[in-house]
């Protein structure tokens, strides 16, 4: 789960990372009042869960409260990469002497967290990593020992941080590490971490991604989930324990297992079709779950055919078949359906579907070819 900038920064602040005393607003009038309260120039920053806000014009400086209201009005009407801006963060503007990057993420190959810093902050760090990887200092953190002070000094030295800032930098690094660890984050990032004209360190931006699997032990973070900022069909899918991603094609897919679901999308493409979605109904799919999956797929008017590919292991073919029949009664689909059932109780499942108006297939290749044909209006 991604947190907004203002949420991430508040979490960081709880662990001792200095942040600007910003406030969140949803209307231009509120923004004006906040700017008046701060009494100087402010930054008005769109709160959306995508990168590249600055480039899209979602971050603006304003010298006066009136100007703050005007830029807020514009920003609150924006849609950035498909996401409408509903909130802005208003921070007092800062005199910046230098910008650095500091982040902690999981290095899956090393099976450890990795702390990364660069003297080139404020820009796209992935771009820096591609262009000049030597400008990023990395250090792995032992999961059982945690971050060590010498590791922070090592990083500070490697990014040429002036010695006067080492003490403050250590405090920020440890704060970030504690926030990362205590929140079960998979990413905690400050970009930029600025050195102000007065020589202080300040986290000007913040980004945090929390491990969905650990939200059960962080009810405070789980509450921060911004459902308005997510795709409603994906929210609906999560409610039923389904994994669903909407794509652009016209062949709906319902598959058990993530790897097989991806392979099914790929084979549709291989035979000249376009998948309309990724959908994993998971193991042990019940009839209710299958019905919910069906509704999700058929809610998309672009869908011209549905391919159901179930390899029964824990999932039983007869149960899936019952779910399909139940869903067909509810949804009354008008698009052709291609079904392939293999594995546990597949024969029982196929027998149940015999009277339903469906196209069956033996192999995955055959199923995909038939789905592509009928989606193009042909005969299977």
């Amino acid at each position: 789960m991604k947190l907004h900038e203002y949420q991430s920064k508040r979490v960081f602040a709880q662990y001792g990372v200095p942040i600007p005393p910003g406030k969140v607003a949803t209307t231009p009038e509120e923004v004006e009042a906040i700017a008046r309260e701060f009494g100087g120039p402010v930054a008005v920053k769109a709160q959306v869960l995508v990168g590249g806000r600055g480039k899209a014009g979602g971050i603006k400086l304003a010298r006066t409260p009136g100007e703050a209201r005007e830029v807020a009005k514009a920003i609150l009407q924006m849609t950035i990469k498909g996401l409408p801006v509903r909130k802005v963060l208003v921070d007092p503007a800062v005199d910046i002497a230098h910008e650095i990057y500091l982040g902690i993420t999981n290095d899956r190959a090393a099976k450890r967290p990795v702390l990364m810093a660069s003297s080139e902050g404020g820009v796209d760090i992935e771009e820096v990593a591609r262009r000049s990887p030597e400008k990023i200092a990395k250090v792995h953190i032992h999961p059982l020992l945690g971050l060590q002070a010498y590791q922070v000094r090592d990083v500070a030295l490697r990014i040429d941080l002036p010695r006067e800032q080492w003490r403050a930098f250590t405090k920020v690094a440890f704060g970030l590490w504690k926030a990362y660890q205590a929140s079960d984050a998979t990413l905690a990032e400050i970009n930029p971490l600025v050195i102000t004209a007065q020589g202080d360190l300040l986290a000007l931006d913040g980004k945090m991604i929390v491990d969905d699997n650990a939200l059960y032990r962080h009810p405070d973070l789980a509450e921060m989930r911004d459902l308005d900022a997510e795709d409603p069909t994906e929210v609906e899918a999560r409610r039923y324990g389904l994994s669903f991603i909407k794509l652009d094609g016209d062949i709906g897919c319902m598959v058990n297992g993530a790897g097989l679901a991806m392979a099914t999308m790929d084979i549709i493409k291989l035979y000249g079709g376009e998948p309309a979605n990724f959908l994993d109904i998971g193991g042990g799919a019940t009839a209710e779950k299958v019905a919910a999956a069906f509704r999700l797929i058929l809610a998309d008017p672009k869908v011209k055919a549905v391919l159901i590919n179930i390899f029964g292991g824990i999932t039983r073919g007869d149960e899936v078949a019952r779910g399909i029949l139940q869903a067909m009664e509810e949804v009354k689909p008008e698009v052709p359906m291609v079904v392939r059932l293999v594995g546990t109780n597949a024969e029982e499942g196929l027998a149940l579907l015999q009277d339903a108006d469906m196209i069956t297939a033996q192999t995955l290749a055959e199923a995909a070819q038939k789905a592509v044909q009928v989606a193009k209006g042909g005969e299977a």
């Binding site: 999981n106 190959a109 794509l247 993530a258 991806m262 999308m265 193991g283 390899f311 594995g343």
Partner: protein, 290 residues
């Protein structure tokens, strides 16, 4: 011969009295696996299938039955504890089926297990199947026949698809290893490839990868340098868009890395033929072994 599990493996099921644990214990026993004990805290003294004793702790189970392999069905929030318990009780091989274990838990667990010398498979995996000998996990036993092809995969049902297509062509399996779809896990491709390279029964290997991470690229480098046996590959997720997590916690293309195209390129550079769809793997194998 085979790798990791065989008919001599003495298996303890952690979470044996739960719905999944009980169901799959029955399947494992029916397949011929030696399930010698179960563990559920608070249920010590009970029996499952009238013949498998249940213990409160793994240590007690190991002491009483000599179990050397554990399979874990406990819910995600208790799974890290269960894996550590198995390692501390002297279990040699832990197979974690559980899905949804927090990744920071897994980083601590894998670090500790490496120090203990305990082998971990998974989590979020279908487990292991050595056809004709034993199955430890949830892979349906009847979809594969004994043979000489080692299979290693990040995905569950996709593996079923592949070994079933192999069976239809008369191609048997030495051992199937589901390493799981999580970003931080126990055995990865390289370790399993090395085991297959050293296993006399295994003559060829199928490696099934997917988008996300760089395990497949590392495996490709390993194959080029260290494998004498032929390898056939498959990568799922060629049509997956970047930034979207495709079900598995590990299956996400981030920062332009972990794409199917990069992985396929790396494998082909290591002389590994890559199938265009799962059933084609069986065709490529048949050609190669002909």
């Amino acid at each position: 011969m085979s790798i990791l599990v065989n008919k001599k493996s003495r298996v303890v099921v952690q979470g044996i009295t739960g719905r999944e644990g009980r169901f799959h214990t029955e399947r494992m026993v029916a397949y011929g696996t030696q399930v010698v004990a179960g563990v559920t805290p608070g249920k010590g003294g009970e029996w499952v299938l009238d013949r498998i004793p249940v213990f409160d702790t793994v240590a007690a189970a190991v002491e009483a039955t000599g179990a050397d392999t554990s399979v874990i069905f406990v819910p995600a929030r208790f799974a890290a504890d269960a894996i550590l318990e198995a390692a501390d009780a002297g279990i040699r091989l832990v197979v974690a089926i559980t899905e949804g274990i927090p990744v920071q838990d897994m980083m601590r667990v894998t670090t500790y297990l490496r120090e203990k010398g305990t082998t971990l498979v998974g989590p979020n995996c279908p487990g292991l199947l050595t056809p004709g000998e034993a199955k430890v996990g949830i892979i349906p036993g009847n979809i594969a026949i004994p043979g000489h092809v080692g299979v290693v995969s990040r995905s569950g049902t996709l593996t079923y698809e592949v070994v079933y297509a192999m069976k239809l062509r008369g191609l048997g399996v030495s051992t199937t290893v589901g390493i799981g779809g999580d970003p931080v896990k126990g055995l990865d491709f390289i370790e399993v490839l090395r085991m297959f390279e050293e296993d006399p029964q295994t003559e060829a290997v199928v490696m099934i990868g997917e988008i996300g991470g760089s395990s497949e690229e590392q495996a490709a480098a390993f194959i080029r340098q260290h494998m004498s046996k032929p390898v056939v590959g498959f990568i799922a997720g060629q049509t997956a868009p970047p930034g979207k997590r495709m079900g598995h916690a590990g299956a996400i293309i981030e920062g332009g890395e972990g794409t199917a195209a990069e992985k396929i390129k790396a494998l082909e550079a290591a002389q590994v033929p890559v199938a265009r769809h799962p059933e084609e793997i069986a065709d490529l194998l048949a050609e190669m072994l002909a």
